[in-house]
């Protein structure tokens, strides 16, 4: 199962994250997860939301450029080595991921959001190794 992630381009100046969150909030869009990346000059805000396509439209109306990419949400066992076990599987099979960030879902489970360079291949491996992946709806609970 893959889920859509919204990436928003922002200039590196005060109030940009606020502008993104306010625009989404006013449109009634629910934010499930968020991470920031920055180059010093500009930044990318990556978001998991309940309605990705609508979020892109809403942001465009506020003058923000955004795009949707597929990522995978993997529950991680809440124990020592939970994440290491997951990453071992990916590492052993040379499954390449570009970035990852932790999240939580409504049920309280720990989740890793992973962006693979080959999402389909990664999903096949995770399925074979009996790792669960969640849909946006499942994350919402």
């Amino acid at each position: 199962m893959k889920i859509p992630q919204v990436s928003v381009f922002v200039s590196n100046r005060p109030g940009r994250l606020q502008a993104v969150c306010r625009a989404l909030a006013d449109a009634g869009i629910n934010l499930l997860s968020l991470t920031l990346a920055d180059s010093g000059e500009f930044g990318l805000i990556r978001l998991i939301v309940n309605e990705a396509d609508k979020a892109v439209e809403v942001l465009a109306k506020s003058g923000l450029s955004a795009t949707v990419t597929d990522v995978v949400a993997c529950p991680v066992a809440d124990k020592v080595g939970g994440l290491a076990d997951l990453l071992d599987v990916l590492g052993d099979l040379q499954i390449d991921y570009m970035y990852a960030y932790p999240s939580e879902c409504a049920a309280g489970t720990n989740i890793m959001i992973l962006r693979f360079s080959d999402t389909e291949k990664a999903l096949a491996v995770l399925k074979e190794k009996k790792f669960k992946t969640l849909s946006t709806a499942e994350m919402l609970g």
């Binding site: 922002v10 200039s11 000059e41 500009f42 990318l44 465009a60 003058g63 450029s65 795009t67």
Partner: protein, 445 residues
């Protein structure tokens, strides 16, 4: 007579276009006759031209052939400023029916005047340009050139009216309403500055309106230099055909020349405006085919005859005939004006080169602005580029790559190092008329 009344299925050559196809010999004869009359008028009625000709020891009788035009002194923008407001007028104010003026941001504006006959000539040349680009009386035209003192809006308007088209005189600004009317009125053609049309395209996209699905088929654009890349961008985005109309207020406004359907240069309406190319340094005349500064003399203007006006536009007169068969000569499209030139660490830079570089890098035309500054006693050139939706990636390295790609492409064309800054959409200022592409914050030494 409305052009649609002409009983010709193909509708390609219309009676109103006949002057564009005059036998060359007759055209030269007409030009000489009119040049002699204009020189006489200027000599007798305009002190500035009189004094300059006396200084050079030239009288109107010395103009015996078209080649003799080189005996006449040049004129330039400064002359219009120095004689502000009516010093170059050759007729009594009672004959002047219209005044136009520049915005005059750098001091006194320049003022131009028209008699009734001048107004007719102006409308007719614009009409001939429109016809050459396929505009017809059946068109519903949205004119978003600025109306008012600027010659663009009312000049093009006069041509549309003479053509018999339905004009929507919306002027510039209120971009969302522009999109709404374009759709609701079933607009078939548009006219204005290309940079403002790019703005309309942006806003239409945001409103969820696809211009290529509307009735708009063609557009006439001018008042600022625009690259071939910008033309491709406009055409790909909207499915319209974009044509270039050339002009400058000092001569008449838009309509000094215009493209035809071949879009292989700008035909000058030579029966009213006589073109020459000179070396901008030595002011020596250059033969057809060679690049230099365009110099124009009016051949029929009465209120304000202008002799050998230095346009600051860099172009060449084409040597070959156009495929359309018009005998009036063509100049190459204006890619650069010597006025727009930025001198950066001794290198000549034109905004249009940066436009070309951006298009080459991304095959899209992002909104951009050039900022010149002085940092640590070094002049810097920064290009701010707005990141549109299709340029965003979730990957930081892709975004950095994009910035590098722009930088590399610009540096390759300019040959100097530049700074590229990616900006959010709509963060750069836009004017509703001409694009303000260059901000110069450099310390003047």
């Amino acid at each position: 007579m409305r052009s649609t009344a002409w009983n010709d299925e193909e509708n390609k050559i219309l009676p109103e276009m006949a002057l564009d196809f005059m036998p060359e010999e007759k055209l030269r004869e007409l030009q000489l006759q009119r040049l002699r009359a204009t020189v006489k008028l200027a000599y007798e009625k305009v002190p500035l031209f009189h004094e300059r000709m006396v200084e050079k020891g030239v009288t109107p009788d010395d103009i015996k052939t078209l080649k003799d035009i080189v005996k006449i002194p040049f004129s330039m923008k400064k002359d219009l400023r120095d004689t502000y407001p009516y010093g170059l007028f050759a007729v009594d104010m009672s004959e002047v029916v219209r005044l136009h003026a520049s915005s005059g941001t750098t001091g006194k504006p320049i003022v131009v005047g028209y008699t009734k006959e001048d107004m007719d000539v102006w409308a007719q040349v614009v009409k001939r340009g429109l016809l050459a680009c396929g505009f017809r009386s059946t068109d519903i035209v949205q004119n978003f050139y600025g109306y008012g003192l600027f010659t663009g809006g009312l000049g093009i308007h006069g041509g549309f009216e003479a053509l018999g088209a339905t004009v929507v005189p919306i002027s510039g600004g209120n971009t969302e309403r522009q999109v709404m009317l374009m759709k609701d009125f079933g607009v078939t053609a548009v006219g204005g500055t290309p940079s403002y049309f790019v703005r309309i395209i942006d806003v239409a996209e945001k409103m969820g309106v696809d211009i290529s699905k509307l009735n708009v088929k063609r557009g006439i654009f001018g008042a600022e230099p625009w690259s071939d890349g910008m033309r491709d961008y406009i055409e790909e985005k909207t499915g319209i055909k974009a044509y270039d109309i050339y002009g400058l207020s000092e001569i008449v406004g838009p309509g000094v020349g215009c493209e035809c359907e071949c879009r292989d240069g700008i035909h000058i309406f030579e029966d009213h405006f006589y073109p020459e190319i000179v070396d901008p340094e030595t002011l020596e005349p250059l033969p057809d085919g060679e690049e230099g500064e365009l110099v124009i003399s009016t051949l029929s203007k009465r209120a304000m005859p202008i002799l050998r006006y230095r346009t600051r536009d860099i172009t060449a007169i084409e040597k070959t005939k156009c495929k359309c068969g018009r005998t009036i000569r063509r100049i190459r499209r204006i890619g650069r004006r010597s006025d727009d030139m930025i001198i950066m660490r001794g290198v000549n830079v034109f905004p249009s080169q940066i436009e070309t570089a951006l298009l080459r890098a991304e095959k899209a035309l992002p909104h951009y602005q050039i900022v010149l500054d002085t940092k640590n006693n070094m002049d810097t050139l920064e290009v701010k580029v707005e990141v549109s939706r299709d340029m965003v990636s979730d990957s930081m390295s892709d975004m950095e790559q994009l910035s590098k790609k722009f930088k590399h492409s610009i540096e390759q064309i300019l040959g100097i190092s530049v700074i590229v800054t990616l900006c959010e959409p709509d963060s750069l200022p836009r004017s509703e008329g001409k694009a303000k592409r260059v901000i110069d914050n450099r310390k003047k030494i």
